[in-house]
């Protein structure tokens, strides 16, 4: 039995590596990737830092597929792309209007992801497609491959604007500051579910809603070279009875592969297949 087992394990390893082995995109090794004795990227190497000593979050990140079984007891539940409350004991603290919306959204006809519109904030964090964080001295830009989302986080010390000023954005308005080695990003002025327009106010694939009252707090911590942890707090008194926090985990892409073009409207068949367009 040893040989079949060896073959099986080899297959599993190859399968796990297949995205890098078989990628049909030029692999250009990135400078600054720490290497282990075997010459491979050392993902547990220390967190890289910018010239001002702050952790450098820059890089291409994939969502981690680590499952919540490995989660410590005092840590926020792991969110999933389809349902951010999947590991939330007792379910999310919905207000009745939010619960009604979740029921109405079953089936996903108005999911912004499906409509090629900007995804909700947790959909962007958890989509299987990668995202690239570009950390600049006075702002951080995140480019999401999925649906080509671009988000700016201002880190120049400006204050978070009042709700309603400026006009609500798909990605909200985001400002960031460092608390030790944690980047704390606060965002408000989102287009919320109360507009009634398809795609507005979806946190995840299930349709857990947010409204224009949302203040989103994201705590980014680059644990080491290879791991990024984002604790996301949803504070939306119109949709939920209390703020709650979930965790997102991402892993660095260190094999030299890049973001790939994704023009969502190129061959969009969703409206036809769901009978809303001929």
């Amino acid at each position: 039995m040893k040989r079949p087992f060896t073959v099986l394990m080899s297959a599993v390893i190859v399968a796990a590596l297949s995205s890098s082995l078989s990628a049909q995109w030029p692999l250009v090794p990135k400078p600054g990737v720490p290497k282990g004795p075997d010459g491979k990227p050392n993902l547990s190497a220390p967190t890289p830092r910018t010239s001002d000593g702050k952790p450098d979050l820059s890089g291409i990140w994939m969502r981690s597929d680590r499952r919540p079984g490995n989660q410590g007891p005092d840590q926020p539940p792991i969110a999933t792309f389809g349902d951010i409350g999947a590991n939330f004991k007792g379910g999310l603290p919905y207000r009745p209007m939010a619960l009604d919306l979740v029921k109405k959204r079953a089936g996903g006809l108005d999911n912004p992801d499906a409509l090629c519109l900007p995804q909700g904030p947790l959909e962007y964090h958890l989509d299987p497609q990668p995202r690239e964080i570009i950390q600049l001295p006075r702002k951080i830009v995140i480019v999401y491959e999925s649906n080509y989302g671009i988000r700016t986080i201002y880190t120049d010390g400006r204050a978070l604007p009042k709700q309603g000023e400026p006009q609500p954005y798909w990605h909200g308005y985001s400002v960031g500051r460092w608390e030790g080695d944690t980047l704390v990003v606060q965002s408000n002025n989102f287009r919320g579910a109360l507009t009634g327009k398809p795609g507005d106010g979806w946190l995840d694939g299930k349709g857990d809603p947010f409204t224009d009252a949302l203040t989103l707090t994201e705590r980014f911590r680059r644990v080491n070279f290879g791991q990024l942890q984002i604790d996301v707090t949803i504070d939306d008194p119109k949709a939920y009875t209390r703020p709650f926090t979930v965790r997102v985990e991402q892993e660095i892409v260190a094999d030299g592969s890049e973001m790939i073009e994704f023009i969502c409207h190129e061959n969009q068949q969703f409206l036809k297949l769901t009978g809303r367009e001929r």
């Binding site: 297959a11 990628a23 389809g82 999911n111």
Partner: protein, 133 residues
């Protein structure tokens, strides 16, 4: 490792969902998980596009003998690239067997889970639009 063994292992690797494959769109809105479909036919068109690639084949109905054109939705081209596909993986005329799930609207459309090439027997994971995870 022999070349043959390496090819086999890579092929096995392609059978399994690569961790980065795209799960775009709302599966339940478009497809009926209770209606599996398996069809064989020649490729008439291969659209290497986003948000999903599409394969069209002329498939013969075993009962009536009639030939109909069917469209199968795959993952996004970007996700397929990460799991080993290229725009040249299929061309018009290639005979394939596709297993998937029928569209809810009753048209000759489905999503594809696996695509097997008749010429080589190679089975490719198509990974289209799986229920969101």
């Amino acid at each position: 490792m022999t070349k043959r063994a390496a090819v086999l292992l890579v092929a096995v690797g392609l059978l399994l969902p690569a961790r980065s494959l795209v799960a775009h769109h709302s599966f339940a809105a478009e497809f009926d998980a209770s209606k599996p479909v398996k069809l064989t036919g020649a490729v008439t068109k291969f659209e290497w596009t986003n948000p999903h690639a599409w394969i069209y084949i002329d498939a013969k109905d075993d009962k009536t003998g009639e030939v109909a054109n069917w469209g199968f939705e795959l993952a996004a081209a970007s996700g397929l690239m990460r799991s080993g596909w290229t725009r040249l993986t299929l061309k018009a005329g290639d005979v394939v067997t596709i297993e998937g799930t029928r569209a809810k609207n009753g048209t000759n459309n489905a999503n594809a889970q696996t695509v097997t090439l008749a010429s080589s027997g190679k089975k490719l994971f198509a990974g289209a639009n799986t229920p969101a995870q």
